[in-house]
């Protein structure tokens, strides 16, 4: 009996403490939950936790629970599941190309509907326009760039010297690329001129080739694709020719996951890859390597990639305000500069490169500036309504052409037809 009594009093005391504690917190603090993905290696979760802790120190009235949610796909699945369960997050970092999916699910709110003051409105215009392309549709801004990357060309300077090429002038046009590739390729198969990965994210690499040929892959409203445009077909033909006609690249598809190892072991003199690999290549390359912008046909070009901040619709005005405060704090020039230096992601706004942190870093490590300079030629990553299906149509078409089971024209033609069928109801 005595024991039961003890238990009871203990329980009551605890409950009272809980109620009091909660009451106190609710008065003062707005609590935010944020999911974020990590798509590249490195101690990114630690960096994010550190940033959040700093933010909470400066903003005592806001508490942020930052939850690591796996890769981009996982983060989207978790955020949408939380939304359905009625216990949603208030903001999240998700794939920039998820925008149409999130709008269609009625999950997110446009930043234009949250910003109020002139200063806040001006903030929306502070970022590189190329990085905003994946965040703007229907005349509104839905995503704010955070962890963003592009494709760059890594090349082995020792191999260039060995082949009698100038290591300080990497190929700048498609023609240069082919002729350099021919000199770099060894007849015995011990070294290829170049490799462009065609598994994992073929549509992303292809976005670079089409942009270089003066063509984008889709309309900004996300309801029309240009897969069968002549310039698109020409770009795929060129990709295929690199292997089949000019023989400077292996035939068939090239694996995304092992390409970096191929480059590090000297099996290919040039690779196209995400800027996200820069830190690893810098650490592991036993040879002199360079990083350059992708070459041009009509112009230079690359798609952007990576994650944006989104704010969810199921939020109170106070939560939206707090989320905006947090996002603005996270994307301030100083923080952006630090984030870029620590991770290898691009500084998302021009004034970040005016900070001493990035000014010094660019001098110390010039490749860090290549991705920034290339932003002038960048375009949006492929993103439409029904984006998963449309992307797969293009991926399959690219692989069918590269492995020779269809001609580039046929493969892209049928992909376009099927994409039209999917997207018709969004026009």
């Amino acid at each position: 009996m005595l024991r039961t009594m003890k238990h009871l009093t203990g329980g009551v005391a605890m409950a009272a403490a809980l109620v009091l504690g909660l009451g106190g917190a609710a008065q003062a603090k707005t609590e935010l939950t944020m999911y974020y993905p990590v798509a590249v290696g490195g101690p990114l979760t630690k960096i994010v936790d550190g940033l959040v802790a700093d933010f909470e120190k400066e903003n005592q009235d806001i508490k942020v629970n930052a939850i690591y949610a796996g890769n981009y796909n996982d983060a989207r699945i978790k955020a949408l599941a939380a939304l359905k369960s009625g216990n949603p997050a208030q903001l999240s970092v998700m794939f920039s190309i998820d925008i149409y999916e999130l709008i269609e699910q009625g999950a997110i709110v446009a930043f234009d509907d949250i910003v109020e003051t002139a200063e806040e409105k001006a903030w929306l215009k502070k970022f590189y326009p190329a990085l905003m392309e994946n965040g703007i549709t229907q005349g509104k801004t839905w995503g704010i760039p955070f962890q963003r990357s592009t494709i760059v060309m890594y090349y082995n300077k020792d191999a260039f010297r060995d082949a009698g090429l100038d290591p300080d002038s990497p190929p700048a046009t498609w023609g240069d690329l082919v002729s350099a590739g021919k000199k770099l390729t060894k007849a015995d198969g011990s070294r290829w001129g170049m490799m462009i990965p065609s598994t994992g994210y073929p549509y992303w690499m292809f976005g670079a080739l089409t942009k270089q040929n003066g063509q984008t892959l889709m309309h900004g409203d996300g309801n029309k694709t240009y897969f069968d445009a002549p310039a698109t077909v020409e770009a795929l033909q060129f990709w295929k020719d690199l292997g089949n006609k000019y023989a400077v690249m292996p035939k068939g598809t090239i694996e995304w996951g092992t390409l970096r190892q191929n480059f590090l072991e000297g099996k290919t003199a040039i690779m196209w890859h995400s800027t996200g690999n820069l830190t690893t290549v810098k650490k592991k390359a036993k040879f002199d390597f360079g990083v350059a912008m992708l070459p041009a046909k009509k112009s230079r070009g690359t798609p952007t990639g990576g994650g944006n901040f989104y704010i969810f619709k199921k939020t109170s005005p106070a939560e939206r305000k707090a989320a905006l405060t947090f996002i603005r704090w996270m994307t301030a020039p100083e923080r952006t500069a630090l984030w870029s230096k620590q991770t290898g992601y691009i500084g998302t706004r021009p004034d970040a490169y005016q900070t001493t942190i990035l000014k010094d870093y660019v001098v110390e490590f010039p490749p860090a500036a290549v991705a920034r300079d290339q932003l002038d030629f960048a375009t949006a990553e492929l993103s439409t309504y029904q984006t998963g299906r449309v992307r797969k149509l293009l991926d399959d078409a690219i692989q069918a052409a590269l492995t020779g089971s269809k001609s580039p024209g046929d493969a892209l033609g049928s992909a376009q037809k099927q994409a039209d069928r999917l997207l018709k109801r969004y026009r």
């Binding site: 999950a107 190892q261 797969k392 492995t403």
Partner: protein, 287 residues
């Protein structure tokens, strides 16, 4: 009273079975008759429309075809190898424990880890197979990037992974066979092959049935390696049914079509399992 007691004992297990097996199965079947749901377009009853879509879906047929080849490629070979290995390590040989362990090792490795290792085996130029081939002057092959080779490459890896697992069952079965049989056969002058074919193999049939059913189910449910090795590519040449279901559900967010595909997979597995029981039961000697 005894009845109530019995049912009460069964209740916990029954609840879990109902909640996590039977209810989802029925819910999946129901959902396959409804259209995809988004916030703007709520789901509506569409009857058999999803099944009509499926009949026209080229990728579905390709993936199903792949899966049948994958099953045909992995099951008989891994069973044959499993029997061979079991007979081998059932004999008295030096270091028997070590050899048994070595054969069993692939089984205990997680599929994701295996795939990550084999990814580098299969890599052109720098991969293990190409480097071995180069010693004998063979040209480099793009194992995972060539639509004609990719499924075969996956089959080889799966056999390597599975055979050791099946070996354990055969080893247990072999050890339960009475040694008198072999002595009697020896006295009668039966050769080794004759003894295996007429005595050992028929006596192993119950094990073979069990292993076959497991192998068939595995060949439809093991897709972990695809996430690492090929993502179903190039151009769906290595995609399997369950991987396609995953893509439809979590990349396309079309839960209804994914449910339709799942129903097809369930029916397929049920038919195969029943077929195996009915056909093979007649040929099995249970002692």
């Amino acid at each position: 009273m005894n009845h109530v007691y019995g049912w009460l004992l069964l209740l916990p297990a029954a609840v879990f079975l109902l909640a996590f097996t039977h209810y989802p199965t029925v819910a999946t079947l129901m959902q396959s008759f409804f259209s995809e749901s988004t916030a703007l377009r709520p789901s509506v009853f569409v009857g058999l429309e999803n099944y009509e879509l499926l009949a026209e879906d080229e990728i579905f047929w390709k993936v199903l075809n792949n899966n049948l080849w994958y099953a045909a490629g992995t099951i008989p070979t891994s069973i044959a190898i499993a029997i061979l290995m079991a007979i081998w390590v059932n004999r008295r040989l030096p270091g028997r424990g070590l050899v048994r362990m070595a054969y069993f090792t692939p089984t205990i490795l997680p599929m994701i880890a295996v795939a990550n290792i084999w990814l580098f085996f299969y890599t052109p130029e720098i991969g293990l197979f190409d480097q071995i081939g180069a010693v004998f002057g063979m040209p480099s092959q793009n194992w995972l990037g060539d639509p004609d080779l990719v499924l075969g490459s996956l089959i080889v890896m799966t056999i390597w992974k599975e055979a050791g697992f099946f070996m354990i069952f055969y080893l247990a079965a072999l050890q339960s066979l009475p040694p008198e049989l072999e002595e009697a056969a020896h006295l009668e002058g039966a050769g080794r092959w004759y003894f295996f074919w007429r005595v050992t193999f028929p006596l192993l049939m119950p094990t073979t049935l069990f292993v076959m059913i497991n192998a068939v189910i595995n060949s439809f449910k093991m897709v972990d390696h695809l996430f690492i090795l090929t993502k179903g590519g190039p151009d769906n040449a290595s995609s399997l049914l369950l991987y396609y279901i995953f893509e439809v559900a979590f990349s396309f967010f079309d839960e209804s079509y994914a449910a339709t595909l799942t129903v097809v997979l369930l029916v397929l597995l049920a038919v195969i399992a029943v077929g195996q029981f009915v056909l093979m039961d007649k040929r099995i000697h249970y002692r």
